[in-house]
Symmetry: C2
Amino acid sequence: MTSDEKDAGRPASVCNCLAVRQAARQITQLYDAELAEVGLRTTQYSVLAFLDRLGPSSLSDLAEELVLDRSTLGHNLRPLEREGFVRLATDRTDRRTRRLELTAAGKVRLEEARPYWQKAQRRFESSFGKADARELRDILRRAVESAAS
Amino acid sequence: MTSDEKDAGRPASVCNCLAVRQAARQITQLYDAELAEVGLRTTQYSVLAFLDRLGPSSLSDLAEELVLDRSTLGHNLRPLEREGFVRLATDRTDRRTRRLELTAAGKVRLEEARPYWQKAQRRFESSFGKADARELRDILRRAVESAAS
DNA sequence: TGACATTATGGGCATATGCCCGTAAATAAC
DNA sequence: GTTATTTACGGGCATATGCCCATAATGTCA
């Protein structure tokens, strides 16, 4: 009996997709709980953080960096636009492209949020282990590359 | 300079939450693409598979097994009920509880879907590596336990 | 047994996710 | 230079996710 056959009836232990989705749900709740203190979700924080790091970007470029569907990014921007944290402007050279920019208010909120993100990081890593967390991120990064190809 | 400081400006490489969410999105697309052949999503497949394995269950029990919010499970059942794959009945002994059951049609659809789930598994593991996949699932399982506590 | 806490669930709300399709603009083909 | 293709985006649709609150039923405790 192979180990595959042994636990064939236990979906959670053999399905790579279920495993990563369960973990994403669980870990997201941990980070969302901290970021709720400043009224942001994990996804929103990641958009602001990437935009801060990359500077003004097209939606396509940012979506690719975030490993996110373009359309999904478009949807995710709505609450951030409404709050005035990001701004969309039409590119001058290519009028198809919309340049997404972090506003001053967005930058302020991002800096307010960072300590809470760090707190979530510390909480998770103090429980899971710093070295294990590094290994987790590494294997997940490789999984993203593998699934994308 | 520690390695933390070295890549402090690269959110994707340091944030455990972002890493697992990106991987979940990417891998989900791979599985959803296969399961689309039988008109199921990854989440729906996992509900049917767990229900088949566990037998009739309360929503709370099933949600806990799936590492899913109770309310989320309730929402996820709507399309499955509409299609007639699951059935909700009031428990006789405890009328608060709703017993969730897999219908005959649900069982049929589940068995139809299994080969496509297996195909997704094979596609992912032939690219990522069978041993790496096992390691991935193991570290994710530990991460779930860690974040839940 | 009657007040209170606990448990199981549903409804409403908001965001998250990605598909398909349409539109508009830029680029390539000829 | 006109047509065809590609690229960038938005709108609409459906599901996914989880919070908060309300309701109903059960259990507890004096």
